[in-house]
Symmetry: C2
């Protein structure tokens, strides 16, 4: 066991660096034993480091005894080993490894951390496309087994790619917004009142009282606008106590939130948000092509398409498209999930885009703080954004006038006492402003064409799952 | 009220851009009324935008009637106005404004958002240094008034500077780590068991059961290491149900967390973390000098000093220094807060640094998962880092062997059943690894030489404060 007994000058070479340039060099490598197979006086190993792997060989001879070959053959899969070996060019490409032109002839092998002999799931099964499993009767791994053993499931090339790309989404989001002059803020998650409606809120025991988990950072983002930060963003957990067991709901997810003051029209906000998403899509396609390809090997899907500038449809236009497709819907009715998806397909057919904005939602289906449309009292200055026909962002111009906010809250039957602090925030001068919240896991899922948000949450939380 | 009635081509000029280069131009500006003072047929206003302000003037004449002057004089402070005016060079510098060489001769003025007439606190009082308040008998604002009216308190130049700098800390932390090859992860905050000890944990009602709020992302960071991400970081809320009412404890704070696999010695980790902090300090001094100066006007302090490479002392050396200064302490005793501060002063005198590492803590005072020192069974491979004599990071090599981890947990009297998932994470091959968690609010406070962590948390949470 490495207990930091001593420092070492030994250089460990990365598997990704094992190419013909290193042929005939002696190198040290630390890696997992992905597979091992003894064959007479030889043992073939595949050594793995993240998404890279290389074939290695222990053969009875000058550098290895019979015992050593036997020892190597008996190392449990997923154990971590240090090996010293010579890099050798191979005559025939090794199709099953990422390092196809070389193999490693092992001279020494040490076990750094031994895995237990029985793995709860096999990595090769975990990256097998469903279709291959079905057609060829080969094993795949079901979602609960994956999630119960997430530490192993996350080692697959698919998982590594998904979460590297997700890290990239956060990076691109911040990079774009910092360049646009936004300030990053940190908002509290424990709050004293369920200011956004009490139904879907988790209760926390807070010393001798109760507190709640924030359902969004919205109030605090708005307070920062009232406090002159002008353009703010934050990335953090969002909590929803909804007993929804669907492919796209989690009880805890990561919100990418934006709020900004605008000058004259909330479309200034809509354009900033849409452009931020476009910069993310472009950045992912430029910088994460390897990851996108890796995931598509297991989960094939069409590349994500988007337009510049982003397509913006008004709600009434969407209604007309749906009605033309035979759907019956009232003017002030919200979109159901099936209609949302159908609309996505219709938009894709007509405009060839997987990303669009739906603007001017009916006032009746939006929260009380949504600014009404000054030209049509049944409409509002609010919008959703969609990827592959599923909602990933909801936003609006917010009411910044305490008088109107009070009226709208009363209209919605909200207890004014509970939202007093919220309304009071606007009493000392508040600029017109708007914003929106993006679900990180949904963006990752839909960009990659995956079908369950649990694939894009490292440790998902839903009504039935709290572990690991 | 701006309700997005129509789009406008009008260009709003920033106050920071109002310089002699713009002399005699007609411009539109949106700003807050910082002060207004009528004087005969004139009204002088100071208009403010974030940390910038400019003098403006409405005078009876071609462009303004007597009524308009009266109207301008009666606009409540902190209201937001749109003004059209001519930029005029002034002969004598205006010392009280950031734009000292020009003033704005107003031709039109509209109120965009009216503030209530009585402000709960005056911005000028809120930025007054304590000492000036005491010596000259002028008003300052106490902490509770500030925090109760945080939206206004955050508008001061001091608050704007503090939180812009804090945003910079997060940015520099991520920039440095991404360049070092770290991957950003998102860890769940709702957890099923109080895996780090049950005393200081908040309980959440989770549908029909109980859950807890994570006291740190440590378990999940370690699981990511076991899942081959090798080097990870995260920024997120950390919850501690401690009934501590001190200048440096919050019940919810922001953790900057790092975890990484290492090759041979945990000092590889210590060096990466220390270098990350040094890059943050350097970046702040390079990019945020204006903010540092602004804060120091209200809260004077010595510039933050650090060495390269970072000073690393062993715990026994610190004990010797304290004993030499007359403190009586046992070899296996933890540092009390006063001794921590004294040690900071002794280190500053001897080494001229405000930042140092204390390594090799007694095993007895560290958590069960801390790797014992292989050469001295009473010591451990663990460390704290200090800024201006206060702890900002705690970290260690973690035990990555399930057998030893079980032994140490039993030694600490921990119920193995409750940490089963934690221990099981290491059963399928785990590399040696270590890490640490940094408190964002503490780093901001101590870098700027402030004296209360509530100054560096936008909306602080402590046992007595849950609002706003």
């Amino acid at each position: 066991m490495i207990q930091s007994q001593e420092k070492s000058d030994r250089v460990l070479v990365r598997i990704s660096e094992l190419t013909v340039q290193k042929a005939d060099e002696v190198v040290w490598v630390r890696a997992r034993v992905h597979t091992s197979r003894a064959k007479g006086k030889q043992c073939f190993l595949v050594l793995r480091q993240q998404q890279f792997n290389v074939q290695a060989l222990v053969a009875v001879g000058d550098h290895a005894s019979k015992q050593m070959v036997k020892f190597a053959a008996n190392i449990n899969k997923e154990s971590i080993v240090d090996v010293e070996g010579v890099v050798r060019k191979v005559n025939q490409k090794i199709g099953s490894c990422t390092q196809q032109d070389v193999e490693l002839h092992i001279q020494k092998i040490y076990v750094i951390s031994l895995a237990e002999p029985r793995l709860p799931l096999q990595l090769d099964d975990a990256i097998r496309p469903e279709i291959e499993g079905e057609e060829e009767g080969r094993a795949t791994v079901n979602q609960d087994t994956r999630l119960d053993n997430r530490v192993i499931d996350l080692r697959t090339s698919t998982s590594q790619a998904i979460f590297r790309l997700q890290s990239g989404i956060c990076h691109l989001f911040r990079e774009t917004l910092v360049n646009k002059g936004f300030v990053e803020i940190q908002t509290p998650k424990i709050i004293s009142a369920a200011s956004e409606g009490g139904a879907n809120v988790f209760t926390v025991s807070y010393f001798k009282n109760n507190a709640y988990l924030a359902q969004s950072p919205q109030l605090y983002k708005q307070m920062c606008i009232c406090a002159d930060f002008e353009k703010v963003f934050c990335i953090g957990p969002v909590f929803r106590a909804e007993d929804s067991n669907t492919h796209r709901h989690l009880t805890e997810f990561v919100g990418l939130d934006i709020e900004m003051a605008f000058n004259y029209h909330y479309h200034e906000v809509v354009e900033e948000i849409a452009d931020t998403l476009v910069q993310i899509f472009k950045g992912l396609q430029e910088r994460f092509q390897t990851e996108i390809q890796t995931v598509s090997k297991q989960f094939p899907c069409e590349p994500f398409k988007f337009l510049e500038p982003t397509l913006r449809l008004e709600y009434c236009e969407a209604l007309a498209m749906l009605r033309e497709a035979g759907i019956e819907m009232g003017d002030e009715e919200d979109l159901s999930t099936p209609n949302e998806k159908l609309l996505g397909r219709l938009v894709k057919e007509k405009y060839d885009t997987d990303f669009y904005i739906l603007d001017k939602y009916p006032l009746a289906v939006r929260p009380f703080y949504t600014m009404p449309d000054p030209r049509n009292s049944k409409q509002s200055n609010s919008y959703d954004m969609f990827m592959r026909g599923e909602e990933i962002l909801s936003g609006a111009q917010r009411i910044h006038d305490p008088q109107l906010l009070t009226e709208r809250a009363l209209h919605h039957g909200i207890d004014l006492e509970k939202i007093k602090a919220y309304i009071d925030s606007f009493r000392f001068g508040a600029p017109p402003h708007g914003g929106g919240g993006i679900g990180l896991e949904r963006v990752t899922m839909l960009f990659l064409g995956l079908h369950n948000v649990r694939q894009t949450s490292m440790f998902p939380r839903d009504p039935k799952r709290l572990t690991p």
